[in-house]
Subunit: 342 residues, 2 copies
Amino acid sequence: MTAKINRQWLLKQRPIGLTKESDFELAETDIPELQSGEFLVKNIYLSLDPTNRGWMNPVETYVPPVKIGGVMRGIGIGVVIKSKNPRFKEGIMVTGLLGWQDYFISDGSGWMNILPSFPGVPLPNFLNLFGMIGLTAYFGLLDIGKPKEDDTLVVSAAAGAVGSLVGQIGKIKGCRVIGIAGTNDKCDWLTQELGFDAAINYKTESVFNRLKELAPDGIDIYFANVGGKILDAALGNLNLHSRVVICGLISQYNATERIAGPYNFANILVKRATVSGFIVTDYFKRMDEAFKDLHLWYTSKKLIYREEIVKGLENAPKSLNKLFDGSNKGKLIVKISEEPEI
Amino acid sequence: MTAKINRQWLLKQRPIGLTKESDFELAETDIPELQSGEFLVKNIYLSLDPTNRGWMNPVETYVPPVKIGGVMRGIGIGVVIKSKNPRFKEGIMVTGLLGWQDYFISDGSGWMNILPSFPGVPLPNFLNLFGMIGLTAYFGLLDIGKPKEDDTLVVSAAAGAVGSLVGQIGKIKGCRVIGIAGTNDKCDWLTQELGFDAAINYKTESVFNRLKELAPDGIDIYFANVGGKILDAALGNLNLHSRVVICGLISQYNATERIAGPYNFANILVKRATVSGFIVTDYFKRMDEAFKDLHLWYTSKKLIYREEIVKGLENAPKSLNKLFDGSNKGKLIVKISEEPEI
């Protein structure tokens, strides 16, 4: 193999508020020789997710913070191009925490999986429906939300990668589904193409009042992708014995000050609701179960999804904020290199 | 029967902040003739509970607000002294929503139960261990908190009627138990007499810091009787997959302004915690199950409890605030009339 240069986005400083490109530094390093048990992955696609922002803060969350000077953490898809590991042979497609870089050396430990073999599924979809996004929607809704026929399900960031799947899976399970999104276009997409029963534009409507109108008997399941006022409006409209899935609190990830919790917190008591935090990594051991259902729904065309693919590793930092200003159109993915011919 | 006068505490106006005696009016009314199916209860003991304060606010919670001009709602014990109802015969002891008054006419509907037959149990204890207090502690901890051996259980208002039972049941179930209370005397009572492993005086210590010291691996079960800063401190010290039982938010019941939720709300997500509202009325149908265990623990002297009995219905309004300034010593009960000779 000829010597290759590995471009790496390093975290230069902890961002304050939204990330700036100057919070990162694009370094170029040589790729070291492989040790026994190691293999070299050429990264193809990089997933940009709201949770990435949390990883940059100087607080231990469900994972340690990215180190200053370290390669920015990210989930990706790549192909093994050189291997001293019998399980991960050359030519195998993998997914895991490949990082914001061209190449990744792994010994197979940590979060590193061989891609499931679903013929005909486009590669980026393994960062979407058949990746963390699909697993998050599937287990968050079914395991924590526990939908029953005729339940009223409300989803925030409903036009986002996770939210749009949650709503569609809710429809498959017989729920009445209301989505909350930030533009009329997104709301139209939800109701006209994805089969949501209703949608609320949180930028032009009062979420609290609209929920009261659309769900007069209260919300049975609230799938929270954002925190702040939208979460508060939902908590204020819960039904008895409702379930609230806290999957994300996007609106708070860039906060520069401590954020008060929801004013309607006491309604958890009054309505005997259950509010559960949910992180998909706890469910990795059950991924086959989810992928089986998701693949069935995918092949029977019950799941519609969108992707926005940005070309070039160099564009990763500046693209991340699309997730927070809502300008991305579907699952946001960076294309780092061409797909290999199969 | 000679004509009797029924003294009734009516709610004159909705209190702002702590209740004042002038929010109530002591009226005297005649007792009407019983209709078919009705029976007359002579009230003996009246339970004063933090939840009473919530019932006076102009908001529907888990029950409708007490009407202005209506008899103040309260749980009591009484004896049937006249009956046109075949199930509730004269001489039978009952418990239910008897109200802040000398007499109550019931047709047996709503919350009205015949006292369980536990020989040797003092009557006030049917408003404590063998009443709503015991059921709340039992189901709140066991059904929602789901204690496992060696779990770290933290209880707020730990020297209160519910909290002190929760901690002791936690010890029976093999938990490490930390109580939070408002005086050193109460803290000493918890650790020296009730067998709590530790206690925190929230008036003189930083609850957040002390929880971090006493529970370095985090709290597995938090039993919340109060809201505000104490709840926030607990949420900031949760362990992975912890359970938070929201049984009460005492510190917020007298609030005159909207209260922000806990700043550490996001920790519910990070720790994949489950926060569940709990109201004991949902468990009435399973009360026999609880009373069986509670009676066993009571007769084997595994449960210690205290009561403070105030004499005279006329003292009900002024006694209620003891629950909020923490000056009561155990379950607060008003004695309305003498116990009947058996």
